[in-house]
């Protein structure tokens, strides 16, 4: 997006490595020497083949797993503190909704854990369901909703405590192409309305390019960042997907994924 991000840092990873089964025969270096800085309000995608550590990187940032080396700061504090203080919201490929709760009470979950009063969290949940255009489904059960709708509920839930950062692990990976494109527009709209910083893991090059200010390209064995592709396509709309600049950026990311070039590949900035 062209909206100038502020200079404040949302996420700062410095020298992060993650080794699984250290010292054992099946030792795997999932992440090696990762330096990544995400500005406040920035949309950054992590892309790469399976096993490149993009999900692991997201989990390290979320403090769901600990780095073997290096430091992570989220919102200016260590990752653990950021998690404890709910400075980020998370969405996964699976919506991970609880069947025994209504849609509204699923969105209320993080607020409930924070000890919000019933009235306040109901009001907040309805506000969020309004935002993801599911207010009419508040008292439905998750299984009555389509996959895309379930994912919108999950996004609403991740926004519940109004964290400055969203961590998204292939949230649209299980959706069909049409739904997926709709969800992408939806996410950009929500980002526009809320000004969140977003780190988004995906397999899809067009998805990464369409959504992001920067695409971080990773490669496996050991998982590391090989390229960072800035994307400057201006405000997105349906025409963006057919613009030359869009395809240029897609090509730049694809070549980066193939290992062409070194360092930073520049996508041509173009008018849409």
């Amino acid at each position: 997006m062209s909206a100038a991000p502020t200079s404040t840092v949302a996420v700062q990873a410095a020298g992060v490595s993650k080794v699984f089964n250290e010292g054992l025969a099946n030792e795997v270096t999932a992440l090696q020497d990762i330096d990544l800085s995400v500005r406040e309000g920035e949309f950054v995608s992590l892309i790469g083949p399976s096993g490149c550590g993009k999900s692991t990187l997201l989990r390290v940032i979320a403090d769901l797993t600990h780095p073997t080396q290096g430091t992570i700061e989220v919102a200016g504090m260590p990752a653990a503190a950021a998690r404890e203080q709910q400075r980020y919201g998370m969405a996964f490929q699976q919506a991970a909704l609880f069947d025994w709760r209504t849609v509204r009470r699923n969105v209320e979950l993080p607020l409930e854990l924070q000890g919000w009063s019933k009235d306040r969290r109901q009001a907040r949940a309805m506000e969020l369901l309004e935002m993801v255009q599911l207010a009419d489904f508040a008292s439905h059960r998750p299984w009555e909703l389509s996959g895309g709708m379930q994912q919108r509920v999950a996004i609403a839930r991740s926004l519940a405590v109004d964290p400055p950062l969203l961590l998204m692990d292939e949230p649209f990976g299980a959706l069909d192409e049409m739904t997926r494109e709709r969800m992408q527009n939806e996410l950009l709209r929500i980002r526009e309305e809320t000004g969140k910083s977003i780190i988004f893991v995906t397999h899809s090059i067009p998805e990464a390019v369409y959504l992001s200010d920067r695409v971080v390209v990773m490669s496996p064995r050991p998982g590391r960042i090989t390229h960072v592709v800035p994307v400057d396509l201006g405000p997105r709309n349906e025409d963006t997907r057919e613009a030359d600049a869009f395809f240029d950026a897609v090509t730049a990311v694809r070549e980066a994924l193939r290992g062409h070039g070194g360092g930073t590949v520049r996508a041509k900035a173009g008018e849409v």
Binding site: Q86, M90, F92, Q93, A96, F98, D99, L113, W143, Q150
Partner: protein, 256 residues
Amino acid sequence: MGGRLRSVWPPLLIGFLFLAAWQLLVIVQDLKPYLLPAPSLIASNFFGDLGLMSSTAIYTGTTALLGLAFGTILGIVAALLAARFSIVNNIVTPLAAGLAAVPIIALTPILNNMFNITSRTPRVLVTVIIVFFPMFVNITRGLLQVQPVQLELMRSMNASPRTVLRILRIPNAVPFFFTGLKVAAPLAVIAALVAEYFGGPQEGLGSRIASSAANTAYGRAWAYVVASIILGLLFYLAVLAVERWTAPWVGHRRST
């Protein structure tokens, strides 16, 4: 709902045809009641003394219900401990499996000696032991088989293990609880009934089936068997009703 109703008719029809064939067989072959009493004879015994039938069933049903209740509570407590502490899980699970392999009902005469044979206690105890295993195994599975992504979500929201238990594991175990209960409830009736064959108070179904058969009142013995079947079915249907009422989400699994 309409589909449910339609699915009820075929078994009813088969049941009716089966009874008709049975009646016919008895008449045509002129079978003696000690071999096989006619459905009409069983029915006249059953309906002829409906009061006694129901009071007898209530006696055994009470034993079964007490055993089911205590066995379920025991199963829940053990499962919660097993889910919380893997040490408990490692100790209790093999023990429970061992317990399931013991022919519990054969222990009834011993339990009768250990406890007061004139009381209900040994029978309830047998029922408790029978009920415990399916309840414990199913609830433990429900508490532990949580989607990894749901656990990550809870952790991302900074939930303590206790909160995870309350918000995620226990609700997740509810369908498993009912699976266990659907097995355990009819088993409780069978256990309570069979335990009565080994002496003690005579007002239960098991005692009356045995004494009727011993007194060549075959129609009556079979009438008590019918009452036993009805009792077992009632237990099962009661579980279904409670499940529908308290956990309407059971049976609905979403795709993602």
